[in-house]
């Protein structure tokens, strides 16, 4: 199929469905008011098409559901754990595995074990929970992503790349001893789902090897990143995605994984390590935070679903259809002249709210406003990734003012159809047409941490 067709048509058919809730505009206006113009606070049944996140929202395959029935719920030594361990060794190549209830469980462990107070953790752009765990362990995150990542209009194909000069400068300034590891994400979510190139990761490996610094890989969307390398990087087009995935992993020393993305499960994650000592320490600590090291806070069935999901995630037809569907939506919006982050990301389309609503100042929360408007128009739920998500500066107490004000339209894997994509595109276009009538928001309730989850707003 891959050779003959241009279409990204799904390499699967539908086996089980879940009804959607249709709402009237009147109902949506009421729901949005009650949710304080924060899409996180909407009830799932008030939502028609849910693009809030691609995390944990995938449709599992019939094989995964069959695996769910094979769950071995023994507290210790569950068969499913050994299947999971084997899948991770086979597809990712890491030696030692500790399951965790989800990605942040793995982040918690690795940050506690490797970071000492005063340490510096360079990374290719921050991610909310990753950065928080680093800070809680006493570390400071330093951004070393290429400048293009902060420019929504740059067509640079690998906006997830590390700026090697920035990295070397950080190492020289603080010294290698202060840097427990470099945190590398494939793909970079906050940059708009942008991949990094294989050549760039190789160069990062060389540089870190020179200074004896580890690379810890945030590999939640590594298959999507590998597929982009296959599509865009010179000399990589003949390789399989699975092969590239394994090479990317081989350039790093360990990984945290939220299996709720690439690996097509509703819950689960893991910490993978090549160093025995770090693994042993993690194994001793996981039992305090997550669960015994052969279940890590997961039901046996979820480890089985993860093992199967990992093998499906690197299947060529699957990954082509996955990214193909996101590109389909992205291209529709781009053709309609909607301002957005370019190139299109692999797990979603990121609208440029600053350009979309140029008359709404950053302090009137343009991305939050746009997310609310999209819901009101057709019941599509999206997520703000702008000043609300960026939070406040620890020192000054003022807002952090990010360059990008984005609204993320994340596409769950294998869930929605082309017709759903069409509805989304139509709705965005409709909102764009009447953009001049849209006014900003005022924050009425602000939680102290991770405010984007629970803040409330009202219309100006």
């Amino acid at each position: 199929m891959t050779e003959q067709h241009i279409s990204w048509a799904e390499p699967y058919k539908i086996k089980m469905v879940e009804p959607l809730f249709m709402t009237t505009r009147e109902q949506r206006v009421k729901a949005m008011e009650e949710a304080g113009y924060n899409t996180f606070l909407l009830k799932s049944e008030e939502v028609y098409i849910d693009l809030l996140t691609d995390s944990g929202t995938s449709a599992m395959s019939d094989r995964q559901w069959a695996g769910m029935m094979l769950g071995d719920e023994a507290y210790a030594g569950s068969r499913n754990f050994y299947n999971l361990e084997a899948a991770i060794q086979k597809y990712y190549g890491y030696k030692h595995v500790i399951p965790t209830h989800q990605g942040r469980g793995a982040e918690n462990l690795i940050s506690r074990i490797l970071i000492k107070p005063g340490d510096i953790v360079p990374g290719n752009m921050y991610f909310t929970t990753t950065k928080l765990h680093q800070e809680m362990a006493g570390g400071t995150f330093v951004d070393i992503i290429v400048d293009e990542a902060h420019d929504a209009n740059s067509m640079f194909p690998f906006k997830g790349n590390v700026d090697l000069k920035k990295l070397e400068a950080v190492i020289k300034e603080h010294g290698a001893k202060k840097i427990p590891y470099v945190s590398i994400a494939t793909t970079v979510n906050m940059a708009g789902g942008q991949p990094m190139s294989l050549a760039n990761l190789k160069a990062v490996r060389e540089l870190t090897a020179k200074y004896g610094i580890r690379i810890i890989h945030d590999m939640t969307r590594v298959a999507e990143n590998a597929y982009m390398i296959k599509l865009l990087e010179e000399g990589q087009s003949e390789r399989s995605t699975a092969d590239i995935v394994k090479e990317l992993c081989s350039l790093t020393d360990g990984a945290t994984m939220s299996a709720k993305k690439d690996a097509l499960v509703n819950i689960g994650g893991f910490l993978a390590l090549n160093e025995w000592d770090v693994f042993e320490e993690a194994r001793n600590q996981v039992v305090i935070f997550e669960g015994l090291h052969t279940y890590g806070g997961l039901a046996g069935r979820d480890m089985e679903a993860m093992a199967i999901g990992i093998s499906e995630s690197v299947d060529e037809d699957h990954i082509r259809a996955r990214v193909g569907q996101v590109f389909y939506l992205g291209k529709k919006l781009m053709d309609a002249g909607i301002p957005m982050v370019k190139p299109i990301g692999t797990h979603g389309v990121f609208l440029d709210a600053k350009a979309f609503l140029p008359h709404v100042p950053q302090l009137a929360f343009p991305a939050q406003t746009l997310a609310a408007e999209l819901y009101l128009d057709a019941g599509v739920r999206t997520m703000e990734r702008g000043i609300v998500s960026a939070g406040r500066d620890k020192e000054t107490g003022d807002h952090c003012y990010p360059d990008l004000e984005l609204v993320r339209l994340t596409v769950p894997r294998r869930v929605y159809t082309q017709a759903h994509m069409d509805v989304i595109a139509e709705s965005v276009e409709r909102v764009y047409k009447r953009r001049n009538e849209i006014k900003g928001l005022r924050m009425t309730y602000e939680p102290k941490y991770l405010r984007f989850f629970q803040a409330k707003f009202e219309k100006l």
């Binding site: 799932s44 049944e45 939502v47 849910d50 071995d72 210790a76 039992v287 935070f289 669960g291 991770l450």
Partner: protein, 458 residues
């Protein structure tokens, strides 16, 4: 007619094969697992009585709920269903889902704990103690003295010593993180706590202005004992008894892997909004957003259904009666037990079974090994391996009791499985004098029983 036999109020809908092994194979398997049952592979175990946590058979209704799970990141209807169920049961408005009980403990005891703080319980369970000590606080156990004597018959051996509680709260005024009442009292032999005791504890906590947390993971089983053993309680339903006990507490922590029949999941609930809010931040960072807390939607669905099912009187009768059945079989063989038999497990007094093995040679761990060698039965030591500490001179400060727990997974094993276990004990009794003690070869700093390596002594 009235039947003597209490049958299971269900039939079997889905089965899971058991792998059988020989004694010769198991001797090797034990060696490979460093005599630690936590390091055995599940496929090598015949009857797995390691824990009743997360090992239940779910009902067809729960499996249907699994299929209906709403996996939305925010505002999932499965969450709303679970929240509603927990609010109704506990009478507490603020509910935080967590991936399992220890996460709930880490969040609340991390918040209330810290260096210099004291926590007081009828008996802290292993993960509870670990979470408290990890925060730098101290955990103090004050079970009633009767709870320490395994052979003594007492209806509520899980009770807390209220006189001692009052004294400790005076002594440590201003430094008490919380009082934790665990129902039933797991480490103390799965023994119940009476309503009168809970009321006494609550009154003292109130007088001292101290937070009372209910660790309620087996509250339905506890309610069975209260209804049948405590005067004035017989007219209430099991659920009403549970609700009355919840009403005494400021908050509750639950591992839903026990009485809610779920394979994964837990929650925190509070009456006080400020306390709930203080926990929310850590919940989001370490577990997941407030409407899923690190659980799949389907698991929240299963928990909601399980919390309703567990209060079915026919189920609770069967549950308590079938645990007692195993106890009675062992008692007939002369196996020294914790009496009366608890709700979820039978506890064997290893100190009495192997009087020739001193606590520093871990008689409980020796019995655990013997049970696996002779019958492929996996059990767990609740004694000096789990709770022992070292004195400054490096000698072992043993636990109060050397118990081995045979925890019965809910709705999983049949009467013939239980008879097989009893039969294995015939061998245990026949060979009891030849059994040797054990030593620890390697251990981590916290919760050593999970990963420690052992060896047999010559």
């Amino acid at each position: 007619m009235r039947h003597r036999t209490i049958i299971e109020p269900f039939r079997i809908k889905s089965v899971e094969p058991i792998g059988l092994s020989t004694e010769v194979e198991r001797v090797e398997l034990l060696k490979d697992a460093h005599y630690n049952p936590f390091l055995l592979r599940s496929k090598d175990v015949i009857i797995d009585l390691m824990t009743d946590s997360g090992t239940s058979a779910m009902s067809a209704h729960q499996w249907a709920g699994i299929m209906e799970g709403d996996e939305a990141y925010a505002g999932s209807r499965s969450w709303l269903r679970m929240e509603n169920e927990v609010q109704d049961l506990t009478g507490m408005q603020h509910v935080l889902p967590t991936h399992q009980g220890r996460a709930a403990e880490r969040i609340i005891y991390g918040h209330l704990g810290g260096p210099g703080k004291i926590f007081i319980s009828n008996t802290h369970f292993d993960t509870t103690r670990a979470n408290i000590e990890f925060s730098g606080a101290t955990a103090i156990d004050i079970p009633i003295p009767e709870g320490q004597d395994t052979a003594l018959q007492h209806p509520f051996k899980g009770n807390m010593d209220v006189g001692e509680l009052d004294r400790l709260l005076k002594e440590h005024k201003g430094h008490v993180g919380a009082v934790i009442l665990t129902v039933t009292n797991n480490s103390g032999g799965g023994q119940p706590v009476s309503m009168a005791n809970a009321e006494g504890v609550a009154a003292i906590c109130k007088r001292h202005g101290v937070i009372l947390m209910l660790d309620c993971c087996r509250i339905a089983e506890n309610s069975w004992f209260v209804k049948h053993r405590e005067e004035g309680m017989e007219g209430l339903t099991y659920r009403e008894i549970a609700q009355r006990m919840f009403a005494l507490a400021d908050g509750a922590v639950m591992s839903a892997k026990k009485d809610a029949f779920a394979n994964i999941g837990g929650f925190l609930s509070f009456r006080n909004e400020a306390l709930a809010e203080a926990c929310t931040n850590l919940l989001i960072i370490t577990e997941g957003f407030t409407t899923y807390g690190g659980l799949a939607g389907r698991d929240m669905e299963a928990i909601a259904i399980g919390l309703e099912e567990v209060f079915d009187p026919h189920y609770l009768n069967y549950r308590i009666r079938s645990t007692t059945f195993l106890g009675e079989q062992l008692h007939k063989l002369g196996v020294p037990l914790m009496l009366p038999i608890g709700g979820h497990a039978v506890y064997i007094d290893a100190k009495k079974l192997y009087p020739h093995i001193p606590p520093a040679q871990y008689p409980g761990q020796a019995l655990v090994s013997e049970l696996f060698r002779l019958g492929g039965i996996r059990s767990v030591e609740i004694g000096s391996v789990m709770f022992g500490t070292y004195a400054e001179d490096g000698s072992l400060k043993p636990s109060r009791m050397e118990l081995v727990r045979l925890a019965i997974p809910r709705r999983v094993y049949t009467q013939s499985h239980i008879e097989y276990v009893a039969e294995t004990f015939e061998g245990i009794m026949a060979e009891r004098e030849q059994v040797k003690g054990m030593r620890i070869v390697k251990e981590p700093k916290f919760l050593r029983h999970f990963t420690a390596h052992f060896d047999t002594l010559p």
